[in-house]
């Protein structure tokens, strides 16, 4: 080995002491092993998913027609449809969005912008992270006790409003965490610029930080809602029905109506022995997935819409 010894002669570092063993072939081999491993992971994940989707599609696509979408559930598979579960799902999700967005975003802003780095914030942060990890059935039990029983005078028991409030509890921690992430992504220099112009903290949040964080907040909220839309366990716990042969009136009265949602209808149908009901379930699954994809589509649209153009 030849070192440009002259160039280094005056240096105190003795470069002859340093020894490199590049061993490129071995490093490349490790590269390719990992490349193969991650490729295999993608294939496994995607193939399981596509088997699931294909199977559901084969069973369910033929079920989906106008009659299926506009009929109430029935004991006779040929007459059965998913009108009331679809409407129930829409009712519940709209209410959950109305409740959880302001509360979740408000809490996120308070934690991140107003009491950041305080002891209180650390305590709350740990608790919210834990809440996000609580199994959904626990929220069901909580909803059963608080909304169905204690707040009976307000909620009238096992009603749409009780279901929506229960799911709101479930998605709130996720929305709060997403809001905080989005706020944290706004550079500190923006806040400093605002304060240096004589803005109050609320003005900085409202006019500078929040608009920049909005796309991220909206995306996080909709992803949280799409978790809520698929939840079955908490709603079964609070006693949502499986046969609902009417639609809630489109008024405040509707809040006190009993209800069903798509995942519960699906759960009910797949737990029956008859093959015909399994096909109905597959059809309902496709409808639920279309709803989910539509929500994710809205999330992407809103993100691009509010993205601040550079």
């Amino acid at each position: 080995m030849t070192l440009p010894s002259q160039a280094f002669q005056d240096d105190s570092l003795d470069f002859k002491e340093l020894k490199f063993f590049p061993d490129l072939p071995k490093r490349y081999k490790i590269d390719s092993v990992f490349k193969f491993a991650s490729w295999a992971a993608v294939v496994i994940a995607l193939s399981v998913l596509s088997i699931l989707l294909i199977e559901v599609a084969i069973d369910g696509l033929s079920m989906i027609n106008w009659q299926f979408l506009t009929s109430y559930p029935s004991r006779k598979p040929a007459d059965a449809g998913i009108l009331s579960p679809i409407v129930g799902t829409i009712w519940v999700m709209v209410l959950v969005a109305l409740f959880s967005f302001p509360i979740g975003v408000g809490a996120g802003i308070f934690l991140e912008e107003f009491i950041a780095d305080s002891f209180l914030e650390n305590v709350i942060e740990v608790n919210i992270a834990n809440l996000a990890a609580v199994p959904s059935i626990i929220y069901g039990l909580l909803g059963l006790q608080v909304f169905v029983r204690w707040l009976f005078p307000l909620t009238q028991g096992r009603t749409i409003i009780s279901g929506a409030l229960t799911l709101t509890l479930l998605v709130l921690p996720i929305i709060i965490i997403a809001t905080r992430e989005a706020l944290r992504a706004v550079p500190g220099s923006m806040r400093q610029a605002g304060f240096a112009l004589g803005a109050t903290r609320w003005q900085v949040v409202r006019d500078i930080v929040f608009p920049q964080a909005l796309p991220g907040i909206l995306t996080g909220t909709i992803l949280a809602l799409s978790r809520g839309i698929g939840e079955t366990a908490p709603l079964i716990t609070i006693g949502a029905l499986t046969y609902v042969a009417f639609l809630p009136p489109l008024s405040l009265e509707g809040l006190h109506s009993t209800f069903s949602v798509l995942p519960i209808q699906i759960f009910n149908w797949v737990s029956r022995p008859q093959q015909e009901f399994h096909l109905l379930a597959a059809g309902a699954i496709i409808v639920l997935m279309v709803l989910l994809l539509a929500m994710n589509g809205i999330a992407i649209y809103l993100r691009n819409r509010f993205q601040i153009t550079r």
């Binding site: 550079p187 610029a193 112009l197 004589g198 803005a199 006019d207 500078i208 153009t309 550079r310």
Partner: protein, 268 residues
């Protein structure tokens, strides 16, 4: 303490720092700073990295309040009133003492809104279009952007962005403008534009500028404060004011050897 009050005789002062100590947590970052800043003058803060220039600058409009660990001892009088007194509202103070940062930080809003923002939140009732135009003219940016006021402030070049930030600060008709290395991210031509701008603004405003560029300090400033840092027993470093005087004295006949070495580039 090399601050020699007899060497700088001022009848009127805008800002006066008295025995200013700044702590981050429990560690003292800058100690015992005494400076008097006269109106309509440019004061430069120079000194090696980490000696506390930005720290002192941020005290002047209480931006240090935003750093939870920062704590200030001593007094800063602004027109004779201690700005760390309880009765002083930092929000009001910051409208009067504007700030321009090292990295240009326009809002991701239109050029127009970048300037209108500060005025709106401070309850400006006058003609907004006129205010935007005047501020951009004063910041020597009007001719370059007058046809594209709706364009995002982020679409400008770095030098233009920095002048937009200066325009934004001017729009509030402040009394003092603090600038923390405003040209460090700029090319030489933009730097000269900003320096020309500082010269023009001097007639109306008092300016405090932090710079690492000796030529810049000697070109733009009337007074210069040289800061240095020395090791503490605890193994940290504490910054202090070595010398504060008229700029030509600091550069040509400083009283301290360290100042002499620093301004002539033989420091360290």
């Amino acid at each position: 303490m090399a601050f020699n009050s007899s060497s700088v005789t001022m009848t009127e002062v805008v800002l006066s720092l008295r025995k200013l100590n700044v702590f981050y947590g429990s560690s003292l970052a800058v100690r015992d700073v005494n400076i008097d800043i006269p109106p309509n003058q440019v004061v430069a803060f120079i000194g090696p990295s980490g000696c506390g220039k930005s720290t002192v600058l941020r005290c002047l409009n209480r931006m240090n309040d935003l750093i939870p660990s920062a704590r200030v001892e001593g007094q800063i009088f602004y027109h004779g009133k201690d700005i760390y007194d309880k009765v002083v509202d930092p929000v009001d103070l910051r409208r009067r003492i504007g700030m321009v940062f090292q990295k240009p930080n326009p809002f991701p809003k239109s050029i127009y809104d970048n300037i209108a923002f500060g005025a709106r939140i401070n309850g400006y009732k006058g003609d907004m279009d006129e205010l935007v135009e005047t501020s951009l003219r004063k910041a020597a940016l009007w001719d370059e952007v007058k046809d594209q006021l709706k364009k995002s402030g982020l679409a400008l070049s770095g030098g233009q962005q920095q002048r937009l930030c200066i325009a934004r600060a001017i729009a509030l008709q402040p009394d003092v403008i603090l600038m923390d290395e405003p040209c460090s991210a700029l090319d030489p031509i933009s730097t000269l534009k900003v320096e020309d701008l500082i010269h023009e603004l001097e007639a109306q405003y008092t300016i405090v500028i932090v710079t690492h560029n000796m030529q810049q300090a000697s070109r733009v400033s009337d007074y210069t404060a040289f800061f240095n840092a020395e090791p503490t027993e605890k193994g940290g470093k504490v910054g202090y004011l070595v010398e504060y005087d008229k700029t030509d004295k600091i550069f040509n006949s400083p009283q301290e050897q360290a100042t002499q070495e620093y301004v002539s580039g033989r420091f360290g």
